[in-house]
């Protein structure tokens, strides 16, 4: 991980980003920044443009205007795969894991390592996958012994950790998390919050979408509030309150 940006340096910048679908202006002239080792929460009511914003950053949508800079260099992604190759990984709220596969197989899904059995026959390198699973999950302070068990055997929070682990293994610099705690019970939510703290300590940038203000205040450094496609405000978490954030969200 020698190519990590030093903590505090800008990792991702979004400048004057707009996106319209026909006449509908989903996102209007939005500017924000994520630094290395920083968690930025995106908040806003339904339809405020949070999802459009992360889809533009992760390569699902092409912005109508404005630019995205990664480590100071302008980038544009034709597909989510390109964004991922450049270190921007999105973790969806519905997990995107194959339940019947092991942690290792999920981490390597679509890019499985191969080895040669008997010197000629290409086979899946399960030992390497298990090893990577073990070390990656340990990095997230999540110690697994059953590396041959399918992920359906694990709890919601643990599975969320696997999804995050996959991003970490592929050395994602920016993790975009869409409601990572929405489907979880309270202890599991705590575990995920803790995971985000670890990502932060490792110098990654996290964009965190949540409806849950408690989660946002527990983990984020800054909060960007969107309302009807425009930035309604940006606050350092240390300088704001729940009430102020809610006011920004609903307007008035």
């Amino acid at each position: 991980m020698s190519d990590m940006t030093p903590i505090g340096q800008p990792l991702l910048e979004v400048r004057n980003l707009s996106k319209n679908f026909g006449p509908v202006q989903a996102l209007n002239d939005l500017t924000m920044m994520v630094r290395a080792g920083e968690v930025v929460a995106l908040a806003g009511d339904n339809g405020a443009g949070k999802t459009t914003l992360i889809k533009a950053i992760s390569g699902v949508y092409q912005p109508s205007s404005g630019e995205i800079l990664l480590k100071g260099k302008p980038v544009s992604f034709a597909s989510p795969q390109e964004a991922r190759d450049q270190g921007i990984e999105t973790i969806y709220q519905d997990l995107a894991l194959a339940d019947n596969l092991t942690i290792g197989a999920n981490i390597f899904l679509g890019r499985e390592p191969m080895r040669r059995a008997f010197g000629f026959l290409p086979v899946l390198d399960r030992a390497k996958m298990a090893e990577a699973a073990k070390s990656t999950m340990a990095l997230l302070d999540f110690h697994v012994s059953r590396l041959d068990a399918p992920v359906s055997n694990f709890s919601g929070g643990q599975r969320q950790a696997v999804a995050i682990g996959r991003a970490v293994y592929w050395n994602a610099q920016i993790l975009i998390m869409d409601e990572p705690t929405a489907a979880l019970g309270v202890p599991e939510q705590r575990k995920v919050i803790q995971l985000i703290h670890q990502l932060k300590a490792q110098g990654r940038g996290v964009i965190f979408i949540s409806h849950n203000l408690q989660d946002i205040f527990a983990v984020a450094d800054r909060i960007v509030v969107l309302r009807r496609g425009v930035q309604a405000g940006e606050r350092r978490i240390a300088d704001t309150t729940h009430d102020e954030v809610v006011k920004l969200m609903v307007g008035g």
Binding site: Y92, A96, A98, D99, L109, S145, S152, F154, S155
Partner: protein
């Protein structure tokens, strides 16, 4: 709560994973249920034949060979079906693709024998038949992958098309093959083991490797469990499904060729009764029709369970209709075990 809570202080002990070994043992037993069924059946027939006519069932090599030859065609269909069912689909057209391939092999070998000689004509005819069997596979794949037709409906349509084409090519009758090499392939033995069993065993091993050890197999499991996740992980699902249905078509093609070799004739209805047997073999073998689980070795056991029931009931001289009842009961028990296992392991059903 207006002030931000501090970051979790100190180290919270990480949750251990569910290291419940008893549960895994139970799961292992459930995973091996097809083999347990098989052992149970063989034991039952052995006891019956000893008690009622003092002979042996299992230790008679003729019985074993007959059962294996019996299992060849359903097993070939079932290996292809295993891949399709794991991906969350089903291929109903395999039975008549098999018949189509048998008819094509018969015609092509008859046509080529005068020009090419016996051996080469067999090789040529078999390759052509398997390639022809790939064509309905391509159409199935395009229907399912590109046009998003549900596999059940798409392959049901192809079931009808392949059936009609096979009967048209056969002229509504069976097509006899006049080629000694071909009938030797179908009925000959090498040190007591029929060639068709050797061919099938090698083929099943290759399919086992393909499913268990390659990216294609791994992606197949992932697509069956969560197609959305597979797509997000960068797997080209359309390309995968296209290849998958071509593979199942070609499995049926090989089954058709071996059928034609065994009976020295191509018949359009060759695979008709085998299709549901093949699906049953896959299900008894531990695959879920929801997709995402199953193995080739399980399917082998499932195919042998069916073959042993069918052969064994004839052997102990029971009215043949009991076969249907027994196979049906085994299928139902098998699915019940599968569902109980899912509930135990906390795995989610298809959503």
């Amino acid at each position: 709560m207006t002030s931000p809570p501090a970051a979790p202080a100190g180290h919270v002990a990480p949750q251990a994973d569910h290291a419940d070994k008893a549960r895994t043992l139970l799961q292992r037993i459930a995973d091996l249920r097809a083999w347990l069924f098989l052992a149970f059946l063989i034991l039952g027939f052995e006891l019956w034949s000893r008690i009622s006519f003092g002979g042996t069932f299992l230790f008679n090599p003729f019985n074993i060979q007959s059962i294996a030859v019996f299992a060849v065609a359903p097993l070939l269909l079932a290996t292809g079906q295993t891949f399709v069912i794991i991906s969350g689909g089903i291929d109903l057209s395999m039975g008549f693709i098999m018949g189509l391939a048998a008819v094509v092999a018969a015609h092509v070998i008859n046509w080529a024998t005068p020009g090419m000689g016996f051996g080469l004509a067999v090789l040529f005819g078999s390759v052509v038949a398997v390639l022809v069997a790939a064509i309905p596979g391509i159409v199935n794949g395009m229907l399912v992958a590109l046009l998003k037709v549900p596999p059940f409906i798409g392959t049901l349509g192809m079931f009808g098309v392949a059936r009609g084409v096979a009967f048209l090519l056969a002229g509504g009758t069976t097509v006899p093959v006049k080629n000694e090499v071909f009938s030797a392939l179908g009925n000959g033995k090498i040190s007591g083991v029929p060639y068709i069993i050797i061919v099938t065993a090698i083929f099943v091993l290759i399919m086992h490797y393909l499913l268990g050890q390659t990216k294609f197999g791994q992606h197949n499991y992932a697509i069956g469990a969560n197609a959305q996740a597979a797509r997000r992980a960068g797997i080209n699902i359309k390309w995968h499904l296209l290849r998958l249905y071509i593979l199942s078509g070609m499995c049926a093609g090989l089954a058709g060729v071996l059928y034609a070799a065994r009976f020295s004739a191509g018949a359009a209805q060759a695979g008709e009764p085998l299709l549901l047997d093949s699906v049953a073999a896959v299900v008894i073998g531990g695959a879920s029709l929801f997709g995402g689980s199953g193995t080739i070795l399980g399917t082998v056991a499932g195919a042998f369970v069916i073959a042993v029931i069918q052969y064994g009931l004839v052997f102990i001289n029971v009215a043949p209709f009991w076969q249907f009842i027994s196979v049906g009961v085994v299928i139902i028990i098998s699915v019940l075990i599968d569902q109980a296992q899912r509930r135990f392991s906390g795995g989610r059903q298809s959503e």
